[in-house]
């Protein structure tokens, strides 16, 4: 039973003010065969003030359980302890649940029973992951974990040595260490990652997931020192491949709070897949400019572009190269993530400041999965000469990828072009991404990529690549009328 204490009924008159706005639950304190009816009210997040309903004095000490009646349910704290606390009013004692860390604020104010240590219930399942591991893979992870620990100790000790130097000296020393000792660690990481294809060649999909989880757990501390690896693993925005991850690839720098962390960060942002991300940033504006030249639009007409899942839209820096370009291009930027659009806005403002004139840009916050009907899209945004999407199709299954492509194609003007990116199935960084970064993608072959466009009519479709061969591009040109 839950009641708001609006009447002083069971309480002394001097308690009324204190408890008037406080929810209280009626419960029973159990010790052996004894059950004492009590009022339970808020004392702190993880403790409750308890008074006997008949106003008799309670005895401090351990009890078997506090049971409480919630609507449709009875909950029990298990083993608990009553403590004397002079800060509580009257005869109340402070109750702490010992068997589970009970959140009394949720219990009293939201009538929800929540144990802070719920995760502990999964521990046997998680520990069970040790079983059924491939022996060679287990050895690999043990060696990797040992080596990472050696390098971490080495670099942390060096960091400590020069910690009190003037900042400029410390920075120079760290750069020297990264330059001269870093390659040794980088070569070691490369060697471990090179072993993954052979080690996992016969794994099923389930085994890949299982072993990947084990590897990450074993080197978790090392992963978290790298801002990039921490982000890919923790996914703070709830999805993988967010705009900050892209920015880290673009910056391509040693970032992190320690020398070890900086080396751990730089290794993945220097990998082939990250290079492909940097390459596509330059590739897209080049293709847009080529199309503008081919279409030779009148001076009064801008080339209308649409970027789908635009992220921070860093490619605009390579599209708008002069003040004249501000009159040449109109850009619509679509992303599900408001934060990504905010970062894109920063790019736009920076370009506007550089060229002293406004850019013609629309920002659209929308997910491709719940995108409006094509007729509404056209009415709202118009048609486009150039539509591109670089970090999206790697996350779409074939049925959805086909549908999104169809929708976008309907927005393409005759003679216009689309460029869609997808990582190639032979991406050499694939296992590194799967196992270390927890970054699974939907990889495609050339044929699978082309098949997505097979139901579209009146087009020429072909495949291109960036210099690494990792970034595959589906290029589509819509026939002139």
């Amino acid at each position: 039973m839950v009641m708001a204490m609006k009447t002083a009924g069971e309480f002394r008159s001097d308690d009324v003010t204190a408890v008037e706005e406080t929810a209280a639950l009626q419960g029973q304190l159990r010790a052996g065969a004894q059950a004492i009816p009590v009022w339970v009210r808020h004392a702190s997040k993880y403790s409750a003030a308890v008074t006997a309903i008949d106003d008799s004095a309670l005895t401090p000490g351990d009890y078997d359980a506090l049971t409480l009646a919630l609507p449709g349910d009875e909950v029990s704290t298990g083993h608990c302890r009553l403590l004397i606390d002079p800060s509580l009013d009257g005869t109340a004692l402070r109750l702490v649940a010992l068997e589970g860390i009970v959140d009394f604020e949720k219990l009293l104010f939201s009538q929800r029973f929540d144990c802070l240590d719920q995760a502990a219930r999964n521990v046997p399942l998680v520990l069970g992951y040790r079983r059924n591991l491939d022996a060679a893979f287990r050895d690999h992870v043990a060696d990797l974990s040992y080596d990472l620990s050696v390098y971490r100790n080495l670099f942390d000790r060096l960091d400590e040595e020069y910690r009190h130097e003037p900042p400029a000296v410390a920075e120079a020393l760290q750069q020297g260490i990264i330059e001269h000792l870093g390659p040794q660690m980088t070569a070691s990481l490369d060697a471990y990652i090179c072993q993954l294809p052979e080690l996992t060649a016969d794994f099923s999909g389930e085994q890949h997931g299982h072993h990947g989880y084990y590897l990450r757990k074993q080197i978790w501390g090392a992963l978290l020192t790298s801002p990039f690896l921490a982000r890919t693993n923790l996914k703070p925005r709830g999805y993988i491949g967010d705009s900050e991850m892209m920015q880290m690839c673009y910056r391509h720098q040693h970032e992190g709070g320690s020398t070890f962390g900086k080396l751990m960060h730089f290794h993945p942002v220097d990998a082939a897949a990250a290079q492909a991300v940097r390459n596509r940033r330059q590739l897209v504006p080049r293709l847009a400019r080529q199309l503008a030249d081919r279409l030779a639009l009148p001076a009064t007409e801008r080339l209308k572009t649409l970027s789908v899942a635009c992220g921070p839209a860093m490619e605009l820096n390579d599209l708008f190269l002069s003040a004249e370009d501000c009159q040449r291009f109109h850009c619509s930027l679509l992303d599900q993530d408001q934060q990504a659009l905010t970062e894109a806005t920063v790019q736009i403002q920076s370009l506007e400041a550089r060229f002293g004139q406004p850019l013609s840009v629309d920002l659209i916050q929308e997910s491709v999965r719940t995108l409006l009907a094509t007729r509404v899209l056209r009415a709202r945004w118009g048609d486009f000469h150039f539509i591109y999407s670089m970090g999206l199709f790697d996350y779409l299954t074939p049925p959805v990828a086909e549908a999104v492509l169809r929708k976008l194609y309907a927005l393409l003007l005759p003679g216009g072009e689309m460029v869609i990116g997808n990582f190639h199935v032979d991406n050499p960084t694939r296992l590194y991404m799967d196992y270390w970064m927890d970054w699974p993608l939907y990889y495609r072959t050339e044929q699978e990529f082309l098949d997505l466009a097979s139901s579209l009519e009146g087009l020429k479709a072909w495949i291109d690549y960036d210099e690494t061969g990792v970034q595959m591009l589906l290029r589509i040109r819509k026939a002139d009328p």
């Binding site: 995760a119 999805y239 993988i240 999965r369 299954t397």
Partner: protein, 170 residues
């Protein structure tokens, strides 16, 4: 060789058992071994229940299944009204979260933990979808086209999920 079937069901909870049996019978006639039949009957059932739960009133629900030696694709299409948009946005977030984790079992454990800590309504828990990902090892996705919602599960089939090659054509 591939096997495929397309059928329509009424948005009626009483249909579920009948449809499950029908689906199981169909899957049993495909290349799938018995463990695969069990797994993908569960996937199909979860998706159909989802379709009934979120489908609009009396509009029928379309179901299609395609099985090849390499993969299985299950898709459920139903009509939704604008009131479902917040649920779909939640579905979008959940699917991206599930798909962003290499090991679906990890996603399942995490979801169970979240639900234990913050009781969520059925519509928000999406536990059935997480189960599809980890038990069916399937990539889930959806798209809304006008008012037609298509939810699909695509999974690669390991040899152990299929009957031996020599039995093909059963």
């Amino acid at each position: 060789m591939s096997d495929s079937i397309t059928f329509t069901i009424e948005p009626d909870w009483r249909e579920i058992d009948r449809i499950n049996n029908q689906a199981r019978e169909f899957l049993a006639q495909t290349l799938l071994a018995s463990s695969g039949v069990d797994t993908y009957t569960m996937v199909l059932s979860e998706l159909m229940e989802n379709g009934i739960k979120y489908g609009r009133g009396n509009k029928p629900i379309e179901v299609s299944v395609k099985v090849t030696r390499r993969s299985i694709r299950i898709q459920v299409d139903n009509y939704v009204d604008a009131a479902q948009l917040p649920s779909l946005k939640n579905l979008d977030r959940t699917l991206q979260w599930i798909r962003g984790i290499q090991d679906p079992y990890q996603a399942f454990l995490e979801r169970v933990r979240q639900i234990a800590r913050e009781p969520l309504s059925d519509g928000k828990s999406c536990l059935g979808l997480v189960r599809i990902a980890y038990e069916g090892r399937a990539d889930l996705d959806f798209i809304l086209e006008d008012d037609r919602l298509s939810v699909s599960a695509v999974a690669s089939l390991s040899p152990s999920m299929c009957v031996p090659e020599t039995s093909e054509g059963v």
